[in-house]
Amino acid sequence: MTEEIIIAGFGGQGVLSMGKILAYSGIMEDKEVTWFPSYGPEMRGGTANVTVILSDTRISSPVLHEFDTAIILNQQSMDKFEKAVKPGGVLLYDPNGVIHPPTRKDIRIYKVEGTRAAVEMGNPKVFNMIVLGGYLKVKPVINLANVERGLQKSLPERHHKLIPLNLEAIRKGGEILEAN
C-alpha cells in the first residue's frame, strides 16, 4: 500500500498540522511516512500545502507531480491541484472558499462542509480535524485507534485535554461527508 496525498489551503487553516497528525498516525501503524511541506517566507495568509506519503515500503520521491488524493481547502489550491489527481483518484474539498467546484469526471469527488461544522461545534480550530475525518471515511488508510495514538504523540501534553474534542471532530467529518 502506498498513498500519496496533497493537502492544500491557506496558511493558518491547519494544513501542515493535519498532515503531521496523519503522518504520526501512520507511524503508529508501522508505516513508512514522509511529510514534505512547501515552505516559504510567509507564515499566515499565504498558500500552504504539504505532501504526505504513507507506505508499507520504503518511500521514494517526496516531490510528486500526481497524487492519489488531493484535499483542497481554497480556490487557488483547486486551480493548482485538481489536475494533479491521478485518474481514478480522490479529490476532497471544503466548498467554503471554493468558488468554482471541481469538474473532472475521471476522479471521485467528495465534499466536507468543514468550516460550517466547525462553527457549529463552537471551535473553528477543529476545522482541519473535521476534514481529516472526511478523508479517513473515504480512504480508511489508518484506523481511528492509531489516529488517537498519533494525536497523543504529536500534541504536547498540555493539549492532551483537547484530544476528545479532536476525535469528535474526526467523527463529525465522517458523518457530513458527501459524495459529489
Binding site: K20, A23, Y24, I27, E32, V33, T34, W35, F36, P37, Y39, G40, P41, I59, S60, S61, P62, V63, L64, H65, E66, K153, S154
Partner: protein, 364 residues
C-alpha cells in the same frame, strides 16, 4: 530498537549531535536550517551532557570557534546554508590545513548569491573541489532520508577523527524541512578527558604537561620545503580515504541496461522515476553516491561498461555530472552521459526525470 519519532531533518541533526556525545555546536541562523540551533537550544544539552551550544555573531566567527574547539581534541560542529557556508570557506581551509577533525553541515539553498531559501544541490563543486584555497579535501556525506540525516552525524565525526580531517554533511532544504520516521540512537556520553588524551593526546592542545613537548596546531609553514612535505602527507591521507571510505547505494543495478546517478533529494526523485520506467519495461538502475568525496568513480566506471547510457540528475546546472564523465573516461568507455535537473530552488519532478530519460537516452 531506539525511540521512533516523526522529525524534520534539521531537528534530527540536533538530536543526533547531542546523542552521539558532541562537545560543542557553534552556529549562526539562516533559512532553511535554523531549526538545527533552535532544536539544540530547546534540548538544553548543557544541562545534561554538558555540550556547549553557542550562537556566534557570524558564520566567520562560528567556523573559527569550531577551529578552536577542534584543536583541543573535542567533537565540534557547525551548520549553515549555502551563503553562510561560503563565508566559512577560509576557516574550513585552515581546519583542513591544520588537520583537525570537525563536522560542518550545509543545508543547501538555491544560489548564486543570496539566492532563494528553497532547496538546491549547487554547492557540490564548492564542497568536493574545495571552496577554500589550497589542495585540500572534505570527507563529504550526502544523506537521502531523515534517518540518514541522523545516522551520518556520528559517522561524520567517526570519519573526521579517524583521518583528522573535516567532514561535511551536504544536504538541502528539502531534507532539512521534511519530516520522516526516524529511529533515534541511545544517548552516548561525551568523551572524558582521559579518552581525549588517549585518542588525540599526540596532537591536540590539551594543556602541556612536563612529560611532553608542546602540541602546536597551525596551518602556517613558511618554509616551502616543509610546506610541500605537509602537502605530500595530506595527499597520502586523501589517497587512503579514497581507497577505504567510498560509500554508495545501488538500486536495481544488477540487470540494468541504463543507469541513473543522483545523490540526496534528487536520488529520491529518481527512485520514483525508476519505478515508472521499470513499469514500462525499461531496465534502469540507480546508483546513489553516499560519499561525494571520495567519489564512487570505480563502480560508476564498471557500470558504464555494462549499460547503454547514463543520466545524471541534479538540483544544479550539472556539477556531479563532470565527475561521472571522468569516471566513465577513466574506465576507457564511451557510453553517453546525459544530465537533467532544475536550478534556483526548484526540485525536478519524477515526471520530468522520466521525460528527460526518454528524450536523452531512449531518443523517443
Amino acid at each position: 530498537m531506539g525511540e521512533l519519532r516523526l522529525m524534520k531533518g534539521n531537528e534530527v541533526l540536533a538530536e543526533a549531535a547531542v546523542r552521539c556525545g558532541c562537545d560543542g555546536y557553534f552556529g549562526y541562523p539562516i533559512t532553511p536550517q535554523s531549526e538545527v540551533m533552535e532544536t539544540l537550544m530547546e534540548l538544553r544539552p548543557w544541562e545534561t551532557t554538558g555540550m556547549v551550544v553557542l550562537q556566534a555573531e557570524s558564520e566567520v566567527a562560528s567556523i573559527n570557534m569550531v577551529y578552536g574547539a577542534a584543536a583541543t581534541g573535542k567533537r565540534a560542529m557547525t551548520s549553515s546554508s549555502s551563503p553562510g557556508v561560503s563565508l566559512m570557506q577560509e576557516g574550513i581551509s585552515y581546519i583542513a590545513g591544520a588537520e583537525l577533525p570537525c563536522l560542518i553541515v550545509n543545508v543547501q539553498r538555491g544560489g548564486p548569491g543570496l539566492g532563494t531559501i528553497q532547496p538546491s544541490q549547487a554547492d557540490y563543486f564548492q564542497t568536493t573541489k574545495g571552496g577554500g584555497h589550497g589542495d585540500y579535501r572534505l570527507i563529504t556525506l550526502a544523506p537521502a532520508s531523515v534517518q540518514e540525516m541522523h545516522d551520518f552525524v556520528e559517522l561524520a565525526f567517526d570519519l573526521a577523527f579517524k583521518y583528522r580531517n573535516p567532514a561535511m554533511i551536504l544536504t538541502d532544504g528539502a531534507l532539512g524541512q521534511m519530516m520522516e520516521k526516524v529511529e533515534l540512537a541511545d544517548q552516548k556520553p561525551r568523551w572524558t578527558r582521559e579518552e581525549i588524551l588517549a585518542r588525540s593526546g599526540s596532537w591536540a592542545t590539551t594543556g602541556k604537561t612536563p612529560d611532553r613537548q608542546r602540541n602546536v596546531v597551525t596551518s602556517l609553514e613558511l618554509d616551502s620545503e616543509k610546506m610541500e612535505q605537509n602537502n605530500i602527507r595530506l595527499q597520502a591521507k586523501y589517497q587512503q580515504i579514497e581507497e577505504n571510505e567510498v560509500r554508495y547505494e545501488e538500486i536495481l543495478c544488477d540487470d540494468a541496461e541504463y543507469l541513473m546517478v543522483a545523490f540526496g533529494t534528487s536520488s529520491r526523485v529518481c527512485q520514483k522515476a525508476l519505478e515508472v520506467l521499470r513499469e514500462q519495461g525499461v531496465k534502469v538502475g540507480l546508483l546513489r553516491p553516499i560519499t561525494l568525496w571520495p567519489f564512487p568513480s570505480k563502480v560508476i566506471g564498471e557500470m558504464a561498461r555494462k549499460v547503454k547510457g547514463i543520466l545524471v540528475v541534479e538540483m544544479s546546472a550539472g556539477q556531479m555530472v563532470e565527475d561521472v564523465k571522468l569516471a566513465v573516461f577513466d574506465a576507457c568507455c564511451c557510453v553517453p552521459v546525459a544530465y537533467t535537473g532544475r536550478m534556483g530552488g526548484i526540485l525536478p519532478s519524477p515526471g520530468e526525470v522520466v521525460e528527460a530519460f526518454e528524450q536523452k537516452l531512449l531518443k523517443r
